[in-house]
């Protein structure tokens, strides 16, 4: 290798410390997550607490845990009309291997158009609004994380925003979203699921890149469930369009 070879000799992490067994350097007898021992975490804390720990390095307060728990429920099921769920259901009923179903859904969910990639964009847009002095929604363009679904406000996300904003851990980002929702609703623009996730991440101190993966993780249960349900059904239980319903507009 040349003198420009700048790669480290070993991998490193601040998240996990594994304690090797006395008689086997490859076998771990203990695992610590940001200093907390795994079994002790199991005894004393919830899954949500440990998820927060993994993403931020610290355990949440009760209020933060409540906000994250409610966000988990809010996002846990995108529903059977969401493109990611439909991708999973399509793969499942056409007999894709079951272990591929969740990855398929998460990949489709990863898109830039109201997908996981858009959460980071919304995170940044909200952060930019928050750092402005005397922010006035009327003087700003519609920020990322807001928009239309089927030519109007997403009414379910509006309800979820109202619920999450009412919690003690709701901070500047969720309050900003309420302000933006109030301003933009007359123009039929509203909070999107990606904006909701971004706002909660900001208020919870969860980073921009981490917000992408958290959105995928929180959307995963519904993808998984809808996919697995379809695996039990015959391939003929879903539509396959006839030629009449397939319009090929051929360029000359």
């Amino acid at each position: 290798m040349t003198k420009d070879f700048v790669y480290a000799k070993q991998a490193s992490t601040q998240i996990t410390a594994e304690v090797a067994a006395a008689d086997n350097p490859y076998g771990a007898v203990q695992q610590h997550i940001f200093g907390y021992e795994l079994v002790e975490l199991m005894q004393k804390r919830s899954f949500t607490d440990v998820l927060y720990l993994l993403l931020t390095g610290e355990l949440p307060t009760a209020a933060q845990a409540q906000l994250l728990t409610q966000l988990q429920i809010a996002l846990c099921n995108a529903g059977p009309r969401h493109p990611a769920t439909r991708a999973v259901m399509t793969a499942a009923i056409s007999k894709a291997r079951p272990e591929h179903l969740l990855p398929i859904g998460l990949q489709v969910l990863g898109g830039e158009r109201q997908g996981a990639a858009a959460v980071a964009e919304a995170w940044q847009a909200l952060q930019d609004c928050l750092t402005q002095n005397d922010f006035q929604p009327a003087q700003q363009p519609l920020p990322a994380g807001f928009g239309q679904v089927y030519a109007g406000i997403d009414p379910l996300q509006a309800r979820l925003l109202a619920q999450l904003s009412s919690l003690p851990a709701a901070g500047p980002a969720l309050r900003l979203c309420e302000q933006l929702q109030s301003h933009w609703q007359s123009l039929q623009q509203g909070i999107l699921d990606v904006g909701l996730c971004a706002a909660c991440c900001l208020d919870l101190g969860i980073g921009k890149r981490e917000s992408i993966g958290l959105f995928q993780l929180l959307r995963a249960p519904g993808l998984l469930a809808h996919g697995m349900e379809q695996t039990h059904r015959p391939i003929t239980d879903s539509p396959l369009l006839s030629d009449d319903d397939y319009e090929f507009q051929q360029d000359q």
Binding site: T13, T16, Y36
Partner: protein, 278 residues
């Protein structure tokens, strides 16, 4: 529902249970249309797989020479060497005995990277070289162009002009020869890329790499950055599959085996878990 609402939802109403497309159509038992071509009568046994791949990705039916260029370009984007990041993903998939599709798809996803891989990097490199040609044509000098780029490790961070592992790119000379042998002349993008390479080599000891060369060549061929991102999205697949196969029957955990102490822990020392707040 009033007429306003009907209009508001007209697009979606027209697409309920209906697909509208320009890419093609399967006519069961007869033929398949790909854009304006019959797959079985215009393409099958007459065009190469690479020509059809580019047709599907961009709508352009490219020449046999350009398809040959691209096929050979794909060939050198996919080394069977598990030190390369995407291939390492394939090797880990082999260790886990995943399906070959999972392994190869995972490796291709890994190579959808802004650091290497030939798909996203092609898009980024094409964006740079296409913008650079415009800037030079508008009067900017080569020195000004380079100094407008941020530095990384003391060198200009120009995608396409330094590899993650900083070594001479063995693929450039064969590509130059292939370009000439297939009858392609250097256009404005490749001409500038070569000038830039000479300048960067003399000034910073870093020359053009295969990503930069491909970006300039494909720009000269009239492709957009998005076109090439779509054409090359699976270009590392073959090497990933090779590394997956290599590890499938190897003993468990034997690929780059790690003891607990081999991953350096930089974090917080052990601490007691506090009880939950009530």
């Amino acid at each position: 529902m009033n007429s306003n609402k009907t209009n508001k939802y007209a697009l979606w109403d027209a697409r309920r249970g209906r697909i509208v497309t320009k890419i093609g159509k399967w006519v069961g038992g007869d033929d398949v249309q790909i854009r304006q071509y019959s797959l079985l009568h215009d393409l099958f046994m007459q065009k190469s797989y690479m020509q059809v791949l580019v047709l599907n990705a961009t709508g352009r039916l490219i020449s046999a020479e350009l398809a040959c260029w691209l096929e050979n370009n794909f060939m050198v984007m996919s080394y069977p060497d598990a030190r390369i990041w995407c291939n390492q993903v394939g090797a880990f998939a082999g260790q886990m005995q995943t399906s070959p599709s999972a392994a190869t798809a995972a490796g291709c996803l890994a190579a959808d990277s802004r650091a290497y891989g030939g798909s996203l990097t092609s898009r980024l490199a094409m964006q740079f070289i296409q913008r650079a040609v415009q800037q030079i044509q508008a009067g900017m000098t080569l020195e000004e162009l380079v100094s407008s780029v941020p530095l990384r490790h003391g060198k200009p961070a120009i995608i396409g002009f330094a590899r993650p592992v900083s070594r001479h790119d063995e693929r450039i000379e064969p590509h130059r020869n292939m370009t000439t042998a297939l009858g392609f002349a250097d256009g404005p993008h490749l001409t500038l890329a070569n000038q830039l390479s000479d300048y960067l080599l003399a000034t910073y000891g870093m020359g053009i790499n295969i990503g930069g060369y491909t970006a300039a060549f494909m720009s000269d061929q009239g492709f957009t950055p998005d076109d090439v991102y779509r054409i090359k999205n699976l270009c590392v697949a073959s090497g990933v599959t090779a590394c997956y196969i290599d590890q499938l029957q190897q003993p468990q955990h034997s690929f780059l085996a790690l003891q607990c102490q081999d991953v350096r822990y930089d974090g917080i020392a052990p601490r007691p878990v506090p009880e939950r707040e009530l």
